[in-house]
C-alpha cells in the first residue's frame, strides 16, 4: 500500500482511490490525447475534505488537479503522480432562493441534474452549455458558453458568490464585486490555477414552458452574419445556435491529393420561449431576416429544448465516436474578419474529418461578459467558431497539422482560443493569448497558489522556486 494512503484517507470523509482501483476514465479526459496515472484519486464529500486534501498535497509536495466531468481535451482534469480531486462527488443542491432567483450548489453538480431540480419552480440557470453532462465547477473554471450567452455572457458571469479553497489551503468566500473580487475573477475561467470552487451561487431566470425553434438555412456566411447582428441586437430571441454543415461535392486536389470537398451551408436555429397556448407570430419573429431557406419549425417543451443535444451525444456513443480522440479547436473571432477566416478554413476542410463531430458557430456579444480570463477579441460583436471532430487515433498524425494550422490562422487573424479544446501553445503563445492579463494571472497564481500545486501541465504560469515536486 502507498505509504501516504492511510494518512490521507484518515483526514477525509470522502473516498481515496489508488491506481489499482481506477478505471481508464480517470487517466484521461474527453480529448483522449493524454493518459496520465494519478497517485491518488480523492472523491471529497465536503468543503473541508477539499481543504484537507490541498493541505495534504502542500505538506507532501504533491501536485493536485481538479476534475469535474473531464470534458476538457488538453492537460486538464487529469493528473500524473499526484492527487486527482474528482469533484463530481460534491453534487448537492444546497439552497434555492425563489425570490432572488438564485441557487447555491456544490461544484460537482451536473448541469442537467440542476435543470431537473429547478424545473418545478420554472427556474433555470441563465446560461446552459450544449452538453449538460458537465459540472458547474468545471464549466465556470473554463467560462461556460451556451446558446443564451449572446444575452447573458458566460456561465462564470452568472455566478454571484463562491466558496473557494486556495492553493494555500485557505477558505475564502468571494464575489464579482467587493474585497475578494480579484480572487473571484481569477477562478472564473481560471482553469483551476489559483483556487478550487466548492460552493457557487448562481443567478437564475424564469423560463416559459414551451419553445418554438425556427430551423433557418443560409448558403453563404455573409447573410448569416448580417442576420446575426439583427438577431443579437433585438430582444426577440432567447436562444441562438448555429453550425456549418457540409454538402459534399466530390473530390478536388488539396496539396496534390484529391480529397472530398463540400459546399458549406450555415444552419441557424433561432428559439423563442412562450407560454402554453400563446405561440409566437412566425411572420413577426422572422421579419427582416434573409435566410436561403426556412426549413422547419419545431415546438418543444422548454425542458426538452435544454436537453436537445442528449440524443446527439447518444448517437455518437452508439456509433463509437465518443471514444475517439477529440482535439477540438474552438476560438472567438473578431467580427470583421470572421467570414474570411472561416471561409479560408472550410474551403479546404475535408467533410470526412467531421464524422462524429461538427463545425460550431456562435455569434456573441463581447460586452455581455465581464470575465477577465475568458479571453476574447475586442469589439461589440464576435463569432465563436469551432472545429469539433472525433478522430480515430490512427489518423491523429494526419489531422493534427490541419487543426494546428487552423488554430494558428485564427489566432493570426485576431482570434482568441477557447481553452477547453486541444491547445498546444508555446510559452510565447500563452503569453500572447492572455496579453496584458498574463502578468495579473501569474500574480494571482503566485499569491493564492504559492507552491504552484494546482492543475499543473497546461497553462505555464510562472511559479516561484520551491514549487511542488512530483511524487
Amino acid at each position: 500500500m502507498d505509504r501516504l494512503y492511510r494518512p490521507l484517507e484518515e483526514k477525509l470523509n470522502g473516498v481515496v482511490l489508488t491506481p489499482d482501483q481506477l478505471t481508464s476514465d480517470h487517466q484521461t479526459n474527453f480529448g483522449r490525447l493524454h493518459h496520465w496515472m494519478p497517485r491518488f484519486v480523492v472523491q471529497p464529500k465536503t468543503h473541508q475534505d477539499v481543504v484537507e486534501t490541498v493541505r495534504f498535497a502542500r505538506e507532501h509536495g504533491l501536485f493536485l488537479s481538479t476534475r469535474g466531468a473531464a470534458h476538457s481535451q488538453s492537460e486538464l482534469g487529469i493528473n500524473r503522480d499526484g492527487i486527482l480531486l474528482d469533484m463530481k462527488s460534491m453534487d448537492k443542491v444546497l439552497a434555492l432562493d425563489q425570490q432572488a432567483q438564485t441557487v447555491d450548489v456544490e461544484a460537482g453538480v451536473v448541469w442537467r441534474n440542476l435543470v431537473h431540480y429547478l424545473k418545478k419552480y420554472s427556474l433555470v440557470p441563465r446560461v446552459l452549455t450544449n452538453n449538460l453532462g458537465v459540472t458547474v465547477g468545471g464549466t465556470v473554471a473554463m467560462a461556460g458558453i451556451g446558446v443564451a450567452s449572446f444575452k447573458y455572457g458566460s456561465q462564470g458571469d452568472n455566478v454571484l458568490e463562491m466558496d473557494v479553497v486556495t492553493g494555500a489551503g485557505e477558505t475564502v468566500t468571494c464575489g464579482p464585486d467587493g474585497p475578494e473580487e480579484e480572487l473571484f475573477w481569477s477562478v472564473v475561467a481560471g482553469l483551476g490555477q489559483v483556487a478550487i470552487a466548492t460552493r457557487l451561487r448562481l443567478q437564475l431566470r424564469r423560463f416559459k414552458p414551451m419553445t418554438r425553434t425556427y430551423y433557418l438555412l443560409y448558403d453563404d456566411i455573409h447573410p448569416f452574419l448580417s442576420d446575426s447582428e439583427k438577431i443579437m441586437d433585438d430582444s426577440r430571441w432567447d436562444h441562438i445556435e448555429s453550425w456549418s454543415s457540409p454538402c459534399p461535392q466530390g473530390l478536388k486536389p488539396v496539396d496534390g491529393h484529391r480529397q472530398p470537398f463540400a459546399k458549406w451551408f450555415f444552419p441557424y436555429h433561432l428559439t423563442v420561449e412562450y407560454e402554453e397556448g400563446s405561440p409566437p407570430d412566425d411572420v413577426a419573429m422572422l421579419a427582416g431576416l434573409t435566410p436561403y431557406d426556412n426549413l422547419y419549425t419545431d415546438d418543444l417543451p422548454t425542458i426538452d429544448f435544454f436537453e436537445r443535444m442528449i440524443p446527439v451525444f447518444e448517437l455518437w456513443k452508439k456509433a463509437g465516436t465518443w471514444e475517439f480522440i477529440h482535439p477540438w479547436m474552438e476560438c472567438v473571432l473578431p467580427w470583421n474578419i470572421a467570414a474570411d477566416c472561416i471561409n479560408q478554413i472550410l474551403v479546404d476542410l475535408s467533410p470526412g474529418i467531421l464524422i462524429g463531430g461538427h463545425i460550431l458557430l456562435w455569434p456573441a456579444k463581447g460586452p455581455s461578459s465581464r470575465s477577465r480570463l475568458f479571453m476574447r477579441p475586442e469589439g461589440e460583436n464576435l463569432v465563436g467558431f469551432g472545429i469539433l471532430p472525433a478522430i480515430p487515433p490512427k489518423y491523429w498524425d494526419q489531422v493534427r497539422p490541419i487543426l494546428e494550422n487552423a488554430s494558428r490562422l485564427c489566432v493570426a487573424m485576431g482570434a482568441k482560443r477557447y481553452l477547453s479544446g486541444y491547445i498546444d501553445f508555446t510559452q510565447e503563445e500563452w503569453e500572447t493569448h492572455y496579453g496584458d492579463k498574463w502578468d495579473w494571472f501569474a500574480g494571482c497564481k503566485n499569491k493564492w497558489d504559492p507552491d504552484g500545486l494546482l492543475n499543473p501541465g497546461f497553462v505555464p504560469l510562472r511559479v516561484p522556486p520551491g514549487a511542488a515536486r512530483k511524487g
Binding site: P253, V254, D255, G256, Q344, D348, P401, L409, M413
Partner: protein
C-alpha cells in the same frame, strides 16, 4: 526531368505548373483582384546557399502572368514578400515543412499586408504546392 533551381528554366517550369493547376486556378481566383498580388520569394543565403536568390511571381485571378528570378531581394512591383532562409525554403519545396505552418509561426517573414495574405491562405497554399511540384534539381 529535374530542372536546376534558380534558373530561368525553373521559373518557366513553375509558371507552367501554376497555369496548369486547377487547384491553383480555383483557390486563387480572387488573389490579386483589386490588390497587388505579385509575390517575391526571397531565399536568403545560409549554409545551404551561398547567396540570396529572389523569385518574382506576377499573379492575379488564379493565373501566373510571369515568373522570373531577380537579382534584388526587394522589388517595386511586389505586393508581398515572403522571406526566409534557403534551408527552410528547401524544406518547404521538398514538402518536409508546411508553408502555412512556416508563415503562421513566423519562420517565413511576410512583408506586405499580412491580413490580406491570411485572407487568401488557400490560394497561397495552392501556390506553394505548385512550387513544390516542379521537379527540382538542387545545386
Amino acid at each position: 526531368m529535374a530542372v536546376r533551381f534558380g534558373t530561368a528554366d525553373w521559373a518557366a517550369a513553375l509558371k507552367q505548373e501554376i497555369n496548369g493547376s486547377s487547384e491553383y486556378r480555383n483557390a486563387a481566383d480572387k488573389w490579386g483582384v483589386g490588390f497587388n498580388g505579385n509575390l517575391l520569394f526571397v531565399f536568403e543565403a545560409d549554409e545551404e546557399a551561398p547567396q540570396d536568390r529572389s523569385l518574382m511571381l506576377r499573379l492575379s485571378g488564379g493565373s501566373c502572368q510571369d515568373a522570373e528570378f531577380v537579382d534584388a531581394n526587394s522589388h517595386p512591383d511586389a505586393g508581398f514578400v515572403l522571406r526566409g532562409p534557403a534551408r527552410l525554403w528547401r524544406e518547404i519545396l521538398q514538402r518536409k515543412t508546411m508553408a502555412a505552418t512556416a508563415i503562421l509561426t513566423g519562420k517565413l517573414k511576410v512583408e506586405g499586408e499580412r491580413m490580406q495574405l491570411l485572407k487568401h491562405t488557400a490560394a497561397n497554399r495552392a501556390l506553394i504546392h505548385c512550387t513544390a511540384s516542379v521537379e527540382t534539381g538542387w545545386d
